[in-house]
Symmetry: C2
Amino acid sequence: MRETWIVGAASSRYGKMAETAREAATRVAMEAIRDAGLEPKQIGHTFVANCFGLAEHQAHVGPLINSGLGIPEVPSVTVESACSSSSAALHEAFVQVAGGFVDSALVVGAERLSHLTTQTATTFFAIAADYPFETRNGATFPGLYATLASAYRAAYRTTPEMFGAIAIKNHANAARNPHAHLQKEISMETYLASPIVASPLRLYDCCPFSDGAAAVVVSARESIGRPAREPLVVRASARAGAVTGLHDRPDLLGLPSTRTAGARAFRQARLEPREIDFLEVHDCFTIAEVLALEDLGFFPKGTAARESGDGVTARDGRLPVNPSGGLKAKGHPVSATGVGQVVEIFEQVNGRAGGREVPRTGTALAHNVGATGGSCSVHIFSRR
Amino acid sequence: MRETWIVGAASSRYGKMAETAREAATRVAMEAIRDAGLEPKQIGHTFVANCFGLAEHQAHVGPLINSGLGIPEVPSVTVESACSSSSAALHEAFVQVAGGFVDSALVVGAERLSHLTTQTATTFFAIAADYPFETRNGATFPGLYATLASAYRAAYRTTPEMFGAIAIKNHANAARNPHAHLQKEISMETYLASPIVASPLRLYDCCPFSDGAAAVVVSARESIGRPAREPLVVRASARAGAVTGLHDRPDLLGLPSTRTAGARAFRQARLEPREIDFLEVHDCFTIAEVLALEDLGFFPKGTAARESGDGVTARDGRLPVNPSGGLKAKGHPVSATGVGQVVEIFEQVNGRAGGREVPRTGTALAHNVGATGGSCSVHIFSRR
């Protein structure tokens, strides 16, 4: 297996895009290729994530993006794994490059949903749940994650303020991130006064609907002489699945796919959680950040909410989590989210995270979940 | 790169399914795994194709299929490349196995559209074209392929009977295929009397809308001691893209992505067209079979329609093409089609094509197109 690097990265601002997903994807893809100091013709395969192309009447978007880049003959596929689509795309790109099938691959995720109503978008999202058991009976993701939050609160001694602290921390980070959708700080008063979306989740426990596009270039070390940027070494690219429907799981106090993918990733990387300097984790709801930190092995079960409340995961804490602002405040343009996490890590390492730098950037982990954990990807990166 | 085999295969009957795509995919996946003499737990990664899950309110179907197989922890992705989705999935599976990332992978394609009206289904399909230039202006695939057929007829001396012969041949083959949607022979009179769908294409130039599911298991030679079936050796797995919109191509007398992918495949396999014993090609319309045979290098430009009219591509001809009945008559359940072609080749090699056997089965080629050639996959197989 060849040593494989992230060599270039780019992102749109998350939020409301005037461009279509196709246009934004093409633009950020070109920026990522240029950032890597490469030419489009050096790309051997394009991996696209774009779950909701139907909302723009456009599937089969890979050839359109490649044509926009001037490389129509290059193969492409669109990869879907719900909210973990672009990290799944990154995994397949890693396999192609590490396995020697291509020297460089492009991974680009893009989504545009802001032209839909919230009702339509929520319904659209819900097709990633288990239809006959969940969606058909009225479940959407706020409700499903509220179920997870209720189970956690029933099992462990928590306070609303512990979850509020996660939202406040991620908003504070996003306020320093020019790519972020919600570039504003919030206070505990604002959090506690925000309306209930699905009990116990309040508005500020929930990520926004965002448009956005993000791209990275993955290259084999041996195919890149002097990289234009400091590369991220891909130390692990691991994925796992799990039973999708919450009704069919032995317990609701974690996501089994995070545990499996996390354990695989640490084994591949030959690292332990204590050796990771900072994380981007999938915090579609504040409870999701708590579960991620426990399932990945950073905190014992039932303690991550309290530790978060104590500031351990702040940008200047012992273990910075979501310096980008996370899905919660940077935003969650479904198919851009996973690769967008890698953009953040690349920017931190390359000194482009002005104002939101984390103290140590030797190793980092990105964690991206599909639905309520039907799938999960964990990537671990290090500096050379 | 490890020698990689197709070791098991299964298919539903194409046509109208009572099952959902998820149910049918799970069932044929289990059949393919059993056909290979494997247990589900030996599958390392599942690649799913299912373009139109939204028509059943279900995306993120991989974890559901894997859960049905009793292997929820196994990673999965859904791969989309329009009508070539499942051959694109097969390519990524090949890469994972040949590259040593997993020993066995499952590839399953499934589609259910028959509960929609023809109007809705045609509109759904059309999102794989170039929306702002084609779909938004009213183009759907019958019209786009009619444009290709018109260009071909204007450039070369052809008769309607030449295209009719392709339809008649594929219907004759499908009449002997228990998996086929349209298991009936047609006559030249029937063909010539059938109504115009989009001039010059008549009803019997067009494939039907089909439901269906098909699956294969891909394994590394070294991980399989004594295969339960005679394996297909994957000699080449090649893909290519092209400009999607017809308006933006230098000519309309072929599909550039077929030429690129075909040339790549023959180079990988170190074979020439004259060494291939039989083919499954993408004949969504009769013109598509003609273009495929020319673009792949089996016939000089402008001659494949005439040769087809002369019976060269019949099951007992010099070069049997689409012994399964092809998309034209076996049917075209979009995301099952590409892997279904491989099922046919596997069945031919394993003596399960009773009544539609081709005379020689040493080498075979499968050709699967996305849209009007925005993408294309070509796989070449041989017996050991």
